[in-house]
């Protein structure tokens, strides 16, 4: 027995002493971040994930920078820009910018990038980010023009966001596969280690441009690890082996916050929830063709109660078919407050005094959907509930098999109505209203450079969408960020964590 105990003690000692040191944090100037999703390819033009956007903002810079607080466009690689005409943007570049591999950044790199990504043969994955570009031409070493296919005022959103500038010589040599394995940019952090899908290591880029609106990075190293299970992420955070995580569910956020071991900060996002209804009758002869029924549904759901009880955080009810900060998001639209008596009255007026039965689909937040089903039941609307994967539900909607669904849209963090309203009401595959008047108004807004004219057109379109109750906008979403007490981090509503602005306390 003595021998057994001694062996056990020895084994335990060996085990403990062999355990690797906990991952570094403030003491080693290393910010450890965890997220759950495997990123397919870090080349910003060949992934569609939000984590890919985070990666691109760390590693690459764009011509302009959209200030996440003021939403204004600030100079970044370009020190100035101007609209030459409705389809031409001219940029003058800052001098002395270098890529992580030492290449100097000049007009050749910008022209190459814009021409390369706008060529459909090169297969950029998110075409909407680049399909507005006709091409680019160099004027001199630090001056160039970008030509648009058609007037597209929201172009600046992409110039200041998703169109990252790549080093011409390097990208010509290695292509997307090489860039996906050894990324080279001019952003505040350079990638020093990359294990696809598992781990990314960034180090502060000492040669980063002075006076960048992104600021000067202060944390020496940022290490990202992919941990699929959220509970494990929380355990790592509590154990001090991770410094930052996000998308913490509300109930766990409360518990984490109460622990005092980490900070939890909530911030709303561009994503809004909505109910889409088959007003055009594409799925058959449903009651939803009648605007009175759609209005009744809008009155039947207590959105405030769902936000208060389930969505929580900084979320709020939205009334217009867009996120409030987006350019052109008219707020003075018809509102449908919770009023079940009014809903019943409208249903009776529409010829459904005893309600009706209808399929209702959702792909996320089943609890929110079930709460809505409860409210609909109270006014006599019975639902056949279908819960599908996003891709399957989207295909079903596009195949005109879904009369009514609870969906969400994040606008790709683009602060312009064209990224949401125009996506759903211009007779595309996701448009279940097919209103020609709305389509025309949105087209005007999407193709006019004059801001006032755009606002007028969007305002009219959004008012009509609300008047006709084509959609029931529900609420904005929010995200809980949990991070070490040592970290000074400010989340933003565009849901792009900017680790280059993080600091140690």
């Amino acid at each position: 027995m003595k021998r057994f105990l001694a062996a056990s003690a020895l084994a335990s000692l060996a085990l403990v002493s062999a355990v690797p040191a906990a991952l570094a944090g403030k003491a080693d100037d290393t910010l450890n971040i965890v997220w759950e999703r495997e990123l397919e390819n870090v080349d910003s033009y060949f992934n569609t994930a939000r984590e890919g956007i985070i990666f691109s903002r760390m590693t690459w810079d764009a011509l302009l920078y959209r200030n996440p607080q003021t939403m204004a466009y600030e100079p970044l690689i370009a020190k100035s820009y101007k609209w030459v005409d409705d389809t031409t943007l001219e940029f003058e570049l800052n001098e002395g910018i270098t890529f992580h591999n030492g290449e100097e950044l000049d007009a050749d790199d910008v022209v190459f990038t814009y021409n390369w990504v706008s060529n459909p043969d090169n297969g950029v994955k998110t075409q909407r980010n680049v399909n507005w570009i006709k091409g680019a031409k160099k004027l001199d070493k630090y001056k160039l023009q970008v030509m648009l296919k058609a007037p597209f005022p929201a172009a600046l959103e992409f110039v200041a966001g998703s169109v990252s500038i790549y080093p011409k010589d390097y990208y010509e040599k290695v292509g997307p596969d090489g860039m996906g394995l050894k990324p080279v940019g001019s952003g505040p952090y350079k990638v020093t280690e990359l294990e696809p899908g598992k781990k990314i290591v960034w180090e502060k880029f000492d040669g980063y441009m002075k006076g960048s609106p992104k600021g000067t990075p202060t944390i020496g190293k940022v290490i990202q690890r992919t941990i699929p299970e959220r509970n494990t992420q929380i355990a790592e955070l509590l154990a001090g082996r991770a410094d930052w995580m996000w998308r913490v569910p509300a109930d766990q956020a409360d518990r984490l916050s109460g622990s005092g071991r980490v900070q939890v900060v909530n911030e709303q996002t561009f994503r809004i929830g909505y109910i889409t209804m088959d007003a055009a009758g594409a799925t058959g002869d449903t009651p939803l063709k009648n605007p009175l029924v759609r209005k009744a549904i809008a009155h039947a759901i207590d959105r405030e109660a769902i936000v208060k009880a389930l969505v929580r955080g900084k979320s709020s009810v939205v009334h217009s078919a867009c996120f409030p900060t987006q350019f052109g998001c008219e707020q003075g639209v018809t509102k449908y407050p919770y009023d079940p008596a009014k809903a019943k009255e409208l249903l009776a007026e529409a010829g459904y005094p005893n309600g009706f039965e209808i399929p209702f689909y959702a792909y996320r937040n089943r609890d929110y959907a079930e709460a809505m089903i409860g409210f609909l039941n109270q006014v006599g609307i019975k639902t056949n509930f279908g819960y599908l994967k996003y891709a399957a539900l989207r295909d079903k909607i596009r195949a005109k098999e879904v009369p009514m669904a609870f969906m969400t849209w994040g606008s790709y963090s683009v602060n312009d109505v064209s990224a949401i309203t125009s996506n759903f009401f211009t007779h595309g595959k996701d448009d279940l209203a097919l209103d020609p008047q709305v389509k025309e108004l949105l087209h005007t807004g999407d193709t006019t450079v004059d801001s006032a004219a755009r606002k007028t057109a969007y305002s009219a379109a959004l008012k009509r969408i609300a008047d006709e109750a084509y959609w029931i906008p529900l609420w904005s979403y929010n995200t809980n960020y949990a991070f070490s007490n040592d970290v000074d981090f400010t989340p933003t509503s565009d849901e792009i964590p900017r680790f280059f602005t993080a600091k140690w306390k």
């Binding site: 062999a18 355990v19 495997e38 690890r225 509970n231 494990t232 355990a235 790592e236 509590l238 891709a391």
Partner: protein
């Protein structure tokens, strides 16, 4: 033994062929692969272009023959999602699942066979009840819950073990315990039942009557016969651990092949799903084949049966 081996080999090959056909067909039932690859923003023209580019417009049997031919040479195509060769992804991730599987089955065997033998030696004793208690807890406890409890204990309360990643052998300790414990009850119960049956048989009484020491009776005469069904069960359990460790790989962020398959299903990454299912099935078939041979070696009656 040679004839028996050949018969088993042919059977294994036919099963592998059937599995490959089913795997290939089933993944196509998940929806239009061209739409899946094209992504959310693709137009109809883009989808049609991809359909032609990848050859999805050809008859499915032609696609299957081409896929099977390449797979036979170790070429499983390119991952739609990662844009990397599937074979490379598998080579990177299979060792993690294999390591976990081998560690877990070893842990399960090392725990369950001695427990089964001890329980059978003194039926209805405290030891027997303890062993059965361990078995019942193992069967009743969800593995994800057990995993999370271990993480809380060894990462938050007493941070002495790493809980995520696969860099060192210590990273495999907690996942091995969770996965191995899951397989323990079945093996322990089968060992106990087998031992109880064998220990009551005439030849054991004869061995004891001859005055053979207890350990010789137990381990040389009794255990060899009692473990015959255990070998088959352990092979099946090992196969299950390779493919069924998805939850454990996910919780401990092990990035093995099981987790890769699970994620790939969600991403409609057909080449990866097909390859992982085929490779795991082949492991299963090989393990069953080897356990059949081992059983035939342990019990010669099987060869002629």
């Amino acid at each position: 033994m040679l004839v028996y081996t050949l018969k088993r080999l042919i059977l294994a090959f036919l099963v592998a062929l059937t599995v490959s056909g089913i795997t290939f067909s089933l993944t196509y039932l998940a929806g239009d692969p061209a739409t899946a690859i094209a992504g959310e923003t693709a137009s109809d023209a883009d989808i049609e272009y991809i359909r032609e580019l990848y050859g999805f417009d050809r008859p499915i049997y032609v696609q299957y023959l081409e896929w099977a031919g390449k797979a036979f040479r170790g070429d499983f195509g390119m991952s739609f999602y990662f844009k990397l060769p599937v074979a490379d992804l598998l080579l990177e991730r299979l060792p993690i699942s294999m390591t976990l599987g081998v560690c877990a089955i070893s842990f399960a065997i090392l725990l369950s066979i001695p427990l089964g033998v001890l329980a059978a030696m003194q039926p209805n004793s405290i030891l027997d009840r303890l062993a059965l208690g361990i078995s019942v807890v193992g069967q009743a406890m969800p593995s994800f819950w057990f995993a999370l409890m271990l993480i809380v204990m060894f990462a938050v309360w007493y941070p002495i073990l790493p809980t995520t990643g696969s860099e060192t052998w210590q990273h495999f300790i907690l996942p091995t315990i969770v996965l191995g414990y899951y397989a323990t009850p079945a093996i322990m119960r089968l060992t106990r039942t087998g031992m109880l049956e064998v220990l009551g048989s005439d030849y054991i009484r004869t061995a004891r009557a001859k005055g053979l020491p207890q350990h010789v009776v137990l381990f040389k005469h009794a255990l060899r016969n009692a473990v015959i069904p255990v070998v088959s069960l352990a092979a099946v359990q090992f196969g299950f651990m390779l493919g069924g460790s998805i939850v454990i790989e996910s919780i401990f962020a092990l990035h093995g092949a099981g987790y890769l398959a699970w994620e790939s299903i969600g991403r409609n990454d057909l080449p990866v799903v097909q390859a992982v299912v085929l490779v795991f099935s082949l492991f299963y078939i090989i393990l069953t084949f080897l356990s059949d041979l081992l059983n035939a070696w342990l019990d010669p009656r099987i060869r002629v049966g």
